[in-house]
């Protein structure tokens, strides 16, 4: 069997830790090969070794059977290895073509010859069905399109082996679908693809084989056709994982949150929430499904007091909380797991322990007459860290140093511990691995069972379907449908999210 890439017994150390230990990765020509592992398992390190960003301590790399020494990314490029980074490296104000040729500009008599490059880009784009306009400016095109520009960049430089680093993390469901088509057409043309991911569904859908890494160790390679998500998950995590979270039927009680005719404008002054009505009752999880940018963020910011609402009312029980300050909203019994945990959820440079009292530092027993009581704060933090399984060296470690999953667990611990009436969870599992997702889902259901109202916002349809007791579909600033998860499927939801009426979706 001939492999295009062979990485044998790779070992890479960083001061104090072994990031990769004895890992083998063999990629066949023309296959889509998944590299699966939890966050921090060593996937990125391994790929950076292949791309020439790191030098391994031990092991060898073979490309098309020949032993090579990849000293820097230029060598990797010359060998036909291209990387599609998770964070795009594009110049906003340049055109697609300009970005693609950047660094290897075709020169004619000292001036850059863009005409020729443009034709090449158009030709490549058509061949692989990328549908990219070579003359468009980067700032004018969508995130999905920008990713395609990154793909084109590697193809333009003659890549035969493409590494995709968590490519679906930033995409909408529709865009993911299109990306999968693109990957399949690339493989058809004889390219090989390494897909770094921790999303099992994607692996099952597009990959031929899958190599699993756990805690820096190579666990093995399996044929996707001979495995199932449960097996992959337990290989990745090292124990059995349940997917569809066990939950009993909800028993909704009195209405906790009721929103009437709410109108909210965004930063630019554009109305994003346009007369929205919504109710959430005690003991139920209401999932808001919708394509990003339909007013979901503005809705949540309005409820939590972070953004002024123009008109309408928001009530918690019988108390109106419209346009109260965030602190007053919090004190009325609302907890908020924010969408962007780095921007809103945590002060990353504070110790994790102090982040645990971010809202309650001014109350007893954490402070008295304006003087902080760090002993009580850290005592509380230690309890929460233990209870919510936050993996951190100690409570004094800066929040920045924790992995995403542990940061999120800390936030959830903090928010849930306040015993709120309403929990707003916005994308609570974004970017997390299976183990953390499982934990968080379980916690949210636990809280529901304690009789709390949970408002869930997510762009992952799986999560909405799994967790919600009721799904509210949001489109263009309004709730356009209210459906039961057991009475719908992803396809129907997708149509609703695109703005079709319930009736029309039903007909499909």
């Amino acid at each position: 069997m001939d492999y295009v890439i062979e990485m044998l017994n790779i070992r890479k150390e960083f001061p104090g830790i072994v990031a990769n230990d004895n890992i083998n990765l063999q990629v066949k020509k023309g296959e889509i090969h998944a590299l699966l592992g939890e966050n921090g398992a060593g996937k990125s390190t391994l790929m950076n070794v292949l791309f020439g960003l790191y030098q391994p301590e031990r092991g060898e790399i073979r490309v098309r059977g020949e032993k090579v020494n990849i000293t820097d990314p230029n060598v990797a490029n010359a060998l036909g290895i291209g990387m599609v980074h998770q964070h795009f490296m594009l110049v906003d104000t340049f055109t697609v073509t300009e970005n693609i040729v950047l660094g290897s500009e075709p020169k004619k008599a000292g001036t850059v010859n863009l005409k020729h490059a443009e034709d090449q880009v158009r030709e490549l784009s058509e061949r692989y069905g990328l549908n990219v306009d070579p003359k468009a400016k980067i700032r004018d095109i969508s995130v999905g399109m920008q990713q395609r520009v990154e793909i084109l960049k590697t193809l333009y430089r003659g890549a035969e082996i493409l590494i995709f680093d968590e490519p679906t993390a930033v995409l909408t469901p529709q865009e993911i679908k299109e990306l999968i088509d693109i990957m399949q057409s690339l493989v058809k043309e004889g390219k090989s693809i390494i897909l770094i991911t921790h999303k099992l569904k994607e692996i099952m859908e597009v990959c031929d084989r899958c190599t699993v890494i756990r805690k820096g160790q190579g666990i093995g390679t399996v044929d996707v056709s001979e495995t199932n998500p449960t097996e992959l998950a337990s290989l990745m995590v090292g124990r059995d994982v349940s997917f569809s979270t066990e939950k009993t039927k909800a028993e909704p009680k009195e209405t906790y949150l009721s929103i009437k005719d709410l109108r909210v404008k965004d930063v630019r002054g554009v109305e994003m929430v346009k007369g929205l009505n919504l109710e959430v009752r005690a003991g139920e999880i209401v999932g808001i499904a919708g394509v990003d940018g339909n007013g979901q963020s503005e809705l949540i910011e309005a409820i939590t007091g972070l953004r002024r609402s123009e008109s309408g009312t928001i009530r918690l029980h019988d108390k109106e909380i419209t346009n109260l300050t965030p602190r007053k909203v919090t004190q009325s019994g609302v907890s908020h797991i924010p969408q962007d945990r780095h921007k809103f959820g945590l002060v990353l440079d504070f110790p994790i322990g102090e982040n645990m009292v971010l809202q309650s530092y001014h109350q007893k027993p954490y402070s008295k007459k304006g003087v902080m009581n760090f002993k009580n704060i850290y005592q509380k933090a230690k309890n929460l860290i233990a209870e919510y399984d936050v993996r951190t060296p100690d409570a004094y470690t800066p929040a920045r140093a924790l992995s995403g999953g542990n940061q999120q667990k800390a936030i959830i611990g903090r928010e849930v511990d306040r015993s709120p009436d309403l929990i707003i969870a916005a994308q609570p599992t974004r970017g997390l691995d299976v183990g953390a997702i499982e934990f968080i889902h379980k916690k949210l259901i636990e809280e529901r069972d304690k009789g709390r109202a949970v408002l869930l916002l997510s762009f992952e349809l799986d999560e909405i379907m799994n967790l919600s007791d009721r799904i509210a579909v949001m489109f263009d600033g309004q709730i356009i449908a209210d459906v039961q998860p057991e009475e719908t499927n992803e396809q129907k939801l997708g149509l609703l999210m695109a703005g079709n009426s319930t009736q029309k979706a039903g007909e499909q």
């Binding site: 001061p15 104090g16 939590t304 972070l306 919090t330 002060v347 990353l348 504070f350 902080m372």
Partner: protein
Amino acid sequence: MFSNRLFNILVPIISVLLGLISGAIIMLIFGYNPIAGFAALWNGAFGDAYFFGETIRQVTPYILSGLAVAFALRSGLLNIGVEGQVFMGWLASVWIGISFELPMILHLPLAILAAAIAGAFWGFIPGLLKAKLGVHEVIVTIMMNYIALYLSNSIVRNLLSDGADRTENVAATASLQSNWLAEMTFYSRIHYGFIVALLMALVMWFIINRTTTGFELRSVGFNQHASKYAGMNVSKNIILAMVISGAFAGLAGAMEGLGTFGFMSIKSGFTNIGFDGIAVALLGANTAFGVILAAFLFGILKIGALNMPTAAGVPTELVEIIIALIIFFVASSYMIRWVILRFKKEGK
């Protein structure tokens, strides 16, 4: 992992050493004896009790201006206006010092308090503009510096004196000067203000590290979004940070007005106490304790350097270059630290 704390301590020490070494190389190139040069610097700062007293005298306002800059920086604000706030504090303390007849127990605290309030007011204006209108504090404070300079010149000339270049001396009841200390140090101008400066460092440490106010200020400094999310009033904290920072700066002015000089004269330019305060704060890693150490370094350099031309024959220009090099390395250490931290962040 390489200890963060060790890193924080090592970086400034290394940069000071680098500065000294490159200063030595420059002296060698121009044919001066670096050992004699640095010996002159050392003697100029510690050579006898007089110079030691003068060094302490110079360190005193540096501690306070350093605290002012550091306090604002901890809250995410760059207070370039410390210089102007020093002027207002100086003016206010002297004004009170010359216009009242009160027992010392009232007069001195009143004069010091007036300085703090005047500085605080001068910090309040840019704080308010930043919080309510989003005007960048750097631009406002730079302009406020000029207003302070010319306003205080005008007040000294027209209100506090009869067209003269300086005010009369402050009353003995409002003076920080101490015969006892002066005599002990061969009539250096060391004064009780040093105690005020150390006390204020303690105050800053307490506010920042031990109070809910400090918790909020630091939180706002690191992440305004998260602070707002957590229910803190971001605008209030921005204004408060500038007010407290300005109060520290105003006290630095009082040190000059009630201590070093005992009067205020018309200034043809800035005192640089405020601007050097920026370097002091950065070198001191924005902590109260670090600021004290950094203020000492700056005070030693400033006072010691005066001795280099006469004692070691090193021309003043060269001394300026050497001092600038040390500050350069100190400042670039901050840049290096910043770059390293950025890399750490991106790596995550």
